[in-house]
């Protein structure tokens, strides 16, 4: 029983990191793809939107890691061995991004040269971090991790450097950009800005659809049976259909600027459905190896004492965290 609660928290933390942290990353991605004329304005709006909450959003990653290494230590250490390089690059992205963001805002002297320097680091790492996050997720499921490999390249490079993982990476980047654009639509009252971000959201969504198609294409080349996974079980199928319908609804209402909260909910819903669809189709498998064997969340878990304590810790912790987090979002929703 407690095991299922822990697993639920694990997926919830991953999903929330994707939604909230993803919108954060997306802010940087949008800044990267904004024309120079608009950069200043874009930066200001996005800073107001994510400044107070980005530290908290980042914590879902920590929760994910802690749940993995306490609850599923074997899965965690195997991933750390074979996905060492992409994890490392993602981490470098996290470091560069977090520090550049806060340095940019807390540097007491705001001269253009250093600000531009922080901005460069911020926007490029905002792109690299979710790219590798996606690559890691793709690799865990792609079946390219080969513990029997004897040479460096097969063991530590091709485990993640393959068409499928990389296309999942780009898909992730596009989704983050989409989430950020939608999130910011709800953050500003300026009609021109809202129009601009709605356009950006549409572009990012198109990019996501294209990258999604690439993921399917790559899955064919890498012999990952993605289509079978998703269309092969009712829950995943329903999730995918729901995501598609919500996409249509989103397009229909996106131009009505009155329904901005609904746009957010729909965008979040779409991303959740994508995660649920894939997550459910593979559940309880978390990492799949080249020989077809896999590591399951239901078998590769820690002893029951550790799981029980972890579950209690998470339940009690969320009693503190969730209201506080709610208050944080609420306090900065009220316009000053």
């Amino acid at each position: 029983m407690m095991l299922y609660i822990v697993i639920l928290f694990l997926f919830a933390a991953i999903t929330l990191y994707f939604l909230l942290g993803g919108a954060d990353f997306g802010a940087g991605i949008i800044e990267l793809f904004t024309s120079t004329d608009n950069k200043h304005r874009t930066r200001k709006i996005m800073y107001q939107a994510i400044g107070p909450i980005w530290e908290a959003n980042h914590m879902w990653l920590i929760i994910t890691v802690v749940v993995l290494f306490v609850g599923f230590p074997v899965i965690y250490s195997e991933m750390c061995i074979y996905l060492h390089i992409p994890l490392l690059i993602m981490l470098l992205g996290v470091i560069a991004r977090g520090t550049a963001f806060s340095f940019r805002n807390y540097d007491a002297v705001k001269d253009e040269k250093t600000q531009a320097f922080y901005t460069h680091i911020f926007v490029y790492s905002s792109f690299v971090t979710p790219l590798f996050l996606g690559i890691i997720a793709g690799s865990a499921l792609s079946g390219q991790i080969d513990p029997k490999a004897t040479d460096f390249a097969h063991a530590y490079i091709f485990s993640w450097f393959n068409w499928f993982s990389v296309s999942v990476g780009f898909f992730t980047v596009a989704l983050c950009g989409f989430l950020a654009a939608i999130y910011i639509v709800g953050e500003t009252e300026d009609i021109d800005e809202i129009k601009r971000y709605i356009r950006k959201a549409k572009i990012m969504n198109i990019a996501a659809v294209i990258c999604g198609a690439l993921v399917f294409l790559a899955s064919h080349f890498e012999r990952v049976h993605l289509a079978n996974w998703i269309f092969g079980n009712p829950v995943s199928l329903v999730a995918v259909i729901a995501a598609t319908i919500s996409l249509v609804v989103l397009y229909l209402i996106i131009s009505h600027r009155k329904n901005r909260q609904w746009i957010r909910v729909l965008a979040a819903f779409q991303v959740c459905m994508i995660l649920i669809s894939v997550g459910f189709s593979r559940f309880p498998r978390f990492v799949i190896f080249k020989d077809g064997s896999s590591m399951s969340l239901l078998t590769e878990h820690a002893n029951s004492n550790s799981i029980d304590d972890l579950g209690i810790g998470l339940l009690v912790g969320s009693l503190f965290i969730l209201p506080a987090l709610g208050y944080l979002y609420y306090a900065f929703k009220k316009k000053a």
Binding site: P52, E55, A56, P73, N105, Y106, A108, G317, L325, K334
Partner: protein
Amino acid sequence: MDDFLAARSQMALSLGFHIIYSCIGMVMPVFMAISHFKWIKTQDPVYKNITVAWSKGVAIFFATGAVSGTMLSFELGLLWPGFMKHAGPIFGMPFSLEGVAFFIEAIALGLFLYGWNRLNNWVHWTAGIIVGVSGVASGILVVAANSWMNSPSGFDFVNGQYINIDPVKAMFNKAWFSESLHMIIAAFSATGFAVAGIHALMIYRKQNVLFHTKAFKIAIIFGAAAAILQPFSGDLSAKNAAKRQPAKLAAMEAYFHTQEYAPLVIGGIPDTAAKKVNYGIEIPGLLSFLVHDNFKTPVNGLDKIPVKNQPPVAVTHYAFQIMVGIGVLMMLIGIIYFYELWKKKDLLSKSWFLKTFIWATPLGFIALEAGWTVTEVGRQPWIIQGVMRTSEAVTPMPGIQYSFYLFSFIYFTLSVAVIFLLKRQIQMVPELYDRKTA
């Protein structure tokens, strides 16, 4: 450089930097909350200015502390998968609680930094206090996880299997209290002295004297009080180490031969081959007294430990000497400060007094690093004392030295950036933070 040494160096480097960022990130919010409280109570704009100025420092250090901490939680797995595979479920409890504390800290920090003019004064102040309290709680929890490596408990190790796991017992292992206490006090004294030192420098240069004087006073009260308390907690820690890690204690003291009236060796150059210390000052019986409260009782020396289980003696001994030496010095400076406070002398206008604090700025952090070296190097060759060797835990992936070079570069750059940013904060005090009205 081989992979094992590279992995150890990278871990040492990461911890060495994280410990500084996180100590400042943990203690500064407390200072900030004190000055914020004084502002709410007195409405003296200087205190508001100090609070705002310090909060910028907190934000910078929180960000660097958070990212370097994230790195560490991954590095545990990236560098030591063999360790995490077994240890994760046993000592993970404090980590999961720390995750909660850290989360709350991040939320409260968001509220504090962006809450000016948005939140009610006392709600705002409470957010600051929560940042401080959860920061200290995280510190205690992380050290409790580390102390488990020094004093493993909450499981049975039978035929290479880890069974009967009890995470709560593992968390409350026998070293958690003394180690956490020592660490928290160290954080307060190191940060207190560093912050006070920087403000002392500005007073010495006669810049924004009122602002820096009030800031100095808040920081040094904590720094000095912590420095005076630290030797007591140190004694507790040493007794604990003697009981649970005799090899570590013997290496700290460079104490090669078990004997009655065991001497305390001050300074000196250990000669591991000849098993003696050259040029050290020996005080007979003092080590016995410190460990057993009795001058005669023998203390176990390195001769009781098989050579393959002995930590590097010289490094541990030097690090320990540096830590204790600096600790004593800081305690004396702390006593001088309180004497001054008691006698109501205005020593802040005396240049020798200011210079003392200016010179003392980095001392606490040097002691902190030295103390950390004692804890970690003194535990070698074990990653889990007496259970798992560090060499058994390392990742099978080759090429770790490149990762080490990369990390060295990153931490070096990050430190340069932080120093650069702090310089600019101080440079901007007259314009941004020393306004006459709130």
